[in-house]
């Protein structure tokens, strides 16, 4: 059973546009929600993370929006660039446990 459901599976955005990737979860014990970026042949790298005590976190062009009541969170990439073309994974973790649950990934292609 997929603990974290991610959509869309793939996304094509024009340069300068906004990329939006969504994730949903069921387990209310999750209390840490990171997003990872992965380029081909590389391991995932942490992009930005949020805890459920805030509804939004912004770092540069990347923003996480968190809706605790809906059990959903999303990644917004503003002014998307071709260099952002990669696969993005959301993840979740329960407090005091070290098991991270990953979404199935979104392959983003930013067209020049």
């Amino acid at each position: 059973q997929q603990q974290v459901k991610q959509s869309p599976q793939s996304l094509i955005v024009q340069k300068g546009g906004i990329s939006i990737i969504n994730c949903a979860y069921e387990n209310t014990a999750f209390d840490y929600f990171p997003w990872y970026q992965q380029f081909p042949g590389k391991g995932p790298a942490l992009l930005i993370a949020i805890r459920p005590d805030v509804s939004e976190k912004k770092e540069g062009r990347f923003t996480i929006s968190f809706n605790k009541s809906a059990k959903q969170f999303s990644l917004h990439i503003m002014d998307s660039q071709p260099g952002d073309s990669a696969t993005y994974f959301c993840a979740a973790k329960i407090y005091n446990f070290n098991k991270f649950y990953f979404g199935s990934g979104t392959k983003l292609n930013v067209k020049p």
Binding site: Q6, Y32, G41, K42, G43, P44, A45, L46, A49, R51, F89, A91, K93, Y95, N96, F97, N98, K99, F100, Y101, F102, G103, S104, G105
Partner: protein, 116 residues
Amino acid sequence: GAGVSQTPSNKVTEKGKYVELRCDPISGHTALYWYRQSLGQGPEFLIYFQGTGAADDSGLPNDRFFAVRPEGSVSTLKIQRTERGDSAVYLCASSLSGGLSYNEQFFGPGTRLTVL
């Protein structure tokens, strides 16, 4: 400084053979994780070490999989009697510590295992 390294980068083996995959974490990182990533999927948790001990091995799919970290640094993932379904990229990650903290996990590039 050096990141997480994994060797080999690629491993091709035959069904039924034994393989070992190695992970060198970032120096000083006490927490170490193994994940399996199948094609087109997200990483799937296998096992977590805090120091030398396996604190959570609930993700290991069956008893053919085993991992060790004898000195609290390098870890080896061992797969016995490999099956074609074991083909995947095996990722290792390390962080300063686990448990109550939210320290960033740093991933290695992975070992691509192909079982023929």
